[in-house]
Amino acid sequence: MTLLWIALLPLLGVLVPTLTAGRGRRYCSLATAVLPAVALVMTLLNVPALLDGEQLRFSASWMPELALDLAFRLDGLSLLFNLLILGIGLLIILYAHYYLAKDEPFGRFYAFLMLFMASMVGISMSDNLILLWLFWELTSLSSFLLIGFWSHQSDARKGARMALTVTGAGGLALLAGLLLLGDMAGSFNMGDVLASGEVIVADPRYPLMLGLVLLGAFTKSAQFPFHFWLPHAMAAPTPVSAYLHSATMVKAGIFLMARLHPAIAGSELWSVVVSLVGIVTMLYGAWFALMKTDLKGILAFSTVSHLGLITVLLGIGSPMAILAALFHILNHATFKAALFMSAGIIDHETGTRELKQLGGLKKAMPVTALLTTLAAAAMAGVPLFNGFLSKEMFFTESLATPVLGGLSWLLPALAALGGILSVAYSLRLVHAVFFKPAREAPPKAPHEPPHLMRLPVEILVVLCVVVGLFPAFMATGLLELASQAVIGSPLDFHLAIWHGVNLPLMMSLLAFVAGIALYWRHGDVRRFTQQFVGVDARRVFERILVAIGYRAEQLVARLEGNSLQRYVGWLWLGALVMGGVGLVQITDLTGAAGNQAIDGILILGAGMLMFGGVATAATHRYRLISLLMLSVVGLFVALTFARFSAPDLALTQLSVEVVTMILLMLALFFLPQKTPRESSPLRNVRDLLLAGSLGLVVASLNYAVMTRETLSISNFFIENSKPGGGGYNVVNVILVDFRGFDTLGEITVLALAGLAIFKLLNRLRLFIPHSDGEGRVWSPDRHPAILTSIAMTILPLALLVSAFIFLRGHNQPGGGFIAGLITAVALILIYMARGVAWAQERLDFPFQPVAVIGVAIATLTGLGSWLFGHPFLTSAFGYFKLPLIGTFELATALLFDLGVYLAVVGATLMILANLGKVTTAHRPVTEATEKDANATAASSSPQEPR
C-alpha cells in the first residue's frame, strides 16, 4: 500500500501550493515540501525490504478493457529514480523559494512543479505499460507549463511549444510502440513484458516496435536529431532547467531504455542504432557546448552530450555498461543540477548569462566560484570526483565492446574525442565566468546570494566529492539494486578510484591534455566555425510548422468549396456508387417470394403518392403549392401504413403530418414565397440524373428485399409481448419495454430539438411580410368565428380521445406518442383560432418544463428498476381489481409512456407555440384593441419589420 502512497502523495501535493499560496511564500514553500519529503521517507523505508529481495508491487484494476491497471512497482531502478526525483525536487523547492521574484505567482509555479514531480514518480514506478505512457504524457504537459511559465516572453512560449510538439509527437509514437510491445508480449504488465524478451525479439514486428519506442525515448531525452528542443527550453526559469533538464525529464527517455532493456534490447539492431545515435549526440552536444556563449546554453548542450554518453552505454548493453550508465545517471544528475543552480545564481545576482558580460566573478562570489568549479570538475571527469569514475567506466566499456564489428575501434576514439571536448567546455565555463577579467560590466553589481539559496548547490557538490572519494561506500548499495533490476541478476562489481595504469586512464590523461590545449586555442576554433552560417533550429522548426499548416489549408480549400449543394451532391453520388455496387452483385432482382396481387385501390394510392412527390418537386419554386403537394404525400403515406397493417404508424404519421404542415406554413410566412429561377439547365439535368439514378437504385433495392423471404427476430417480440411485457399491442410493447432505451433516447432528442429551437428563436429579427407573394394583404379576419368555435368544441373532445388512446395503447393501437401528438394538435388549434395572446392567458404555463419533466419521468421509471435489482428499464406489471370498473392492468411501462406523452406534448408545443409567438410578438393584440386592429388592417397599412 505504501507504493500507492509514494505515487499519490506528490499528486496530492499539487493542491498544497494552490491552497496555501495566500499565506505567503515562506509558508507555502514549507507546506509544499512536506508531501514529497514524506514520499521520499516512505521510499527509503522500503529499502530494507528491497535488500531482502522482496518483490514490491501494488496493483488495482482500473480499466481492464484497456488493459490499464493502477499498478506500481518499486525495484532498484525505481528506487534510484525516485531518490533523484524526490531528493533533487526538494532541493529545487528550496532554491525556487529564493529564485522567483517577489511578484511572481509562486503558488502556480509550485503547483506545476509538483504536477511534474508526480508524473515523473509515476513513470519511475509504473508497473503497467499504458500507465507508464499516461505519466509520460503528463510530463510533456507539465513541462510545457513549466517551460512556458514566463508566458509574457515570446522565447518562453516558443520554447515551450517546441518542447511540447517534439516530446508530444514522440509520445504518440511511444504509445503505438508500447501497444505493439504489449501485444507481442501478450500482456501490459511490466513484469510479464520484461520476462518475455526472447519472444519479443523474435517477433516479425520487432523492428517497427523498436523504432517507435526509441522515437519516444530519443525525443524525450533530446537525442540527435531531436535534440534541438532542449536548448530552446532554457527559456524556462532556472529551477525548472535544473530540475527538468538535468535530473528528471530528459532522463525519462534514458529511464525507458533502461526499464525495457531486458525486453527489447536483445538484438543487434538495438545495439547499433542506440549506440550510434548516442555517440553522434554526445559529440554534437559537446561541440556546441564549446561554441555557445550563453551560460545556460552551454549547460543545455553539455546535457545533450552527457545524455548521448548514457545512451551509448545502454546501446552497448553489457552488464558493466548498464552499471556505468546507471552510475552516470546518478552522477550527471548531481553535478548538472548543481551547475544549473549556480548558473541561476549568477544570472540572478548579475542580471546576465552572457559570457562576455561575465568574468572575474571569483572576487565578488568566492563561494559560488568554488562550488561551480568543483561541479564543473566533476563534469569534466577530474579524478576524485564522481564524474571521473563513471567516465572511466565508459572508456573501459567502449574499449571492450564489439558492437560495431570491425569498426569497433571507432568507439573508444570517439569516446576520447568526447572526453576532450568535455574537458574543454568545462574549463571554459569556469575560467570565463570566474577567472578571466570581464570585458564588459554585468548589468547588476554581483554579490553572493542568500546562504539558503546556495544550500542546494552545496549539498549536491558535497555529494559529488564524497561519491568521488568513497565510491564503494556511497554508491555500491544503490547501484547493486538498480543494476539487478535492469540486468535481472546480481552483478559482482567493485567501484574504485584506482585501477592501475591502464588504457582508460591513458584516455583520461589524453582528454585532459588535449582538452586544455583545445581551450587554449579555442579562439581560433571559434573564428574558424564562424565562417559557417549557423542554422537556427527554431527558425527551421517554425518554418516546417508553418509549411504544414499552409499545406493543410490548401488541401482543405481544395476539398471544401463552401457550397452545401456540392457537398450534398457528393454525398448522394457516394450513396449511388455504394448502392449500385451492392445491386450489381445480385444475380436476380426478383426473389423467390414473388409479387402479391394488385387491386385498384393500391394503384390509386401509389398513383397519388407518385403524383404528389413529382408535383412537390415540379412546383418547388411556388412554395405554398409545393407544400400542399407535400401534404398529399404525407396523407397517403399514412394511408399506406394503414393498408399494410400498421395502425400505430398510420395514427402517428397522421398527427405528425398535421403538426409538420402547420410548422412549415408558419415558417414559410417568414421566408420568401417563391424561389428565384437560378439553377442553370446543365445543373438541373445533372441533379435530375443523380436523383433519378439514386431513386432507381433505391427502388430496385426495395423490390429485391421485399420479394425475398426475410428472417426476422420479431417472433420473439410477438411471443413475449403478453407474457413478458403485459401488452397485446406488440409495437407499443417494443417501444416502451423491449426497446425502451431507444425510445428514451428519442424523446430526449425531441426535447433537445425543442430547446434548441427555443434558443434559435430568441432575439430573432424577422422580415414580416405585409402581403403574400401576389401583393394581396393578409386577411383582416384574424380569428374566424367558425374556426374558433370548432376549435373550442373540439378541445375537450380531443383531450378525451388522447387520454383514451394513451390508456389503451398497451393493448390496442395508440400509446404515448400518438396521444401526445393529438393533445398537441388540439392545443395548437386553439392557438391558431384565438391567437397566441388569448391562448397564453388561459394556458399560462411554460412548455419547456413539461418536456423536461417528461424525459425525467421516463428516465426515473427506467432507473426505478435498479431499486429492485433489475437492469435499467425492466418493466413490471400486475392486474388490479377495482369495484364497479373491473379488472385492469397497471404496468411501469404505462408510467414510461406517460413520460413519452409529456415529452411529446411539451416539445411540440415548445416548437410551435414559440414560433407562433414570434408572429404576434410584433403586434400584440388584446381583446379590446382587436376591433381597431381589424379596422386599420383593412386599410392595408403595411406591417414594418422591427
Binding site: L564, Q565, L602, R623, L630, L696, T710, V731, A753
Partner: protein, 110 residues
C-alpha cells in the same frame, strides 16, 4: 404489389433528392421531408407487406412484423423534430444573413 410499392419509394426518393440539391433553404427542407417519407416507407417494407394482420396479439396468426413498425414510429417523430429544427434554422439564417440561400451568401453560389 411489391413492384408498385418499390416504384413509389423510388419516385419519392428521387423527388426528395432532387429538392435537397436546390440552392434555397425552403425547397431543401421540403426535400428532406419528402426523403424521410420515402425512407420510412422503405424501412417499413423491410418486414414485408402484410394485409389485415396488425401486430396485436389475438387468436389469429398472421402478424405484420412489429419491429420495423416500432423503428419507423421512432423515425417519424425524430424526423419531425429534425424538420422543425432545420426549418427554424433556415429562418434564423435568413434573418442573420439577409437571404435564404443554403450557403448564406449570394455571391459565392455557383
Amino acid at each position: 404489389m411489391e413492384l408498385l410499392y418499390a416504384m413509389t419509394t423510388g419516385v419519392l426518393t428521387a423527388c426528395g433528392l432532387y429538392l435537397t440539391l436546390r440552392g434555397r433553404t425552403f425547397p431543401v427542407v421540403v426535400g428532406l421531408t419528402l426523403l424521410s417519407y420515402a425512407v420510412n416507407l422503405f424501412l417499413f417494407s423491410m418486414g414485408g407487406l402484410t394485409t389485415d394482420g396488425p401486430a396485436i396479439v389475438s387468436e389469429g396468426s398472421n402478424y405484420a412484423d412489429p419491429l420495423p413498425q416500432a423503428l419507423v414510429l421512432t423515425a417519424i417523430v425524430i424526423g419531425f423534430a429534425m424538420t422543425a429544427f432545420v426549418v427554424i434554422l433556415a429562418m434564423r439564417a435568413r434573418s442573420e444573413v439577409g437571404n435564404d440561400h443554403v450557403d448564406g451568401n449570394k455571391e459565392d453560389r455557383e
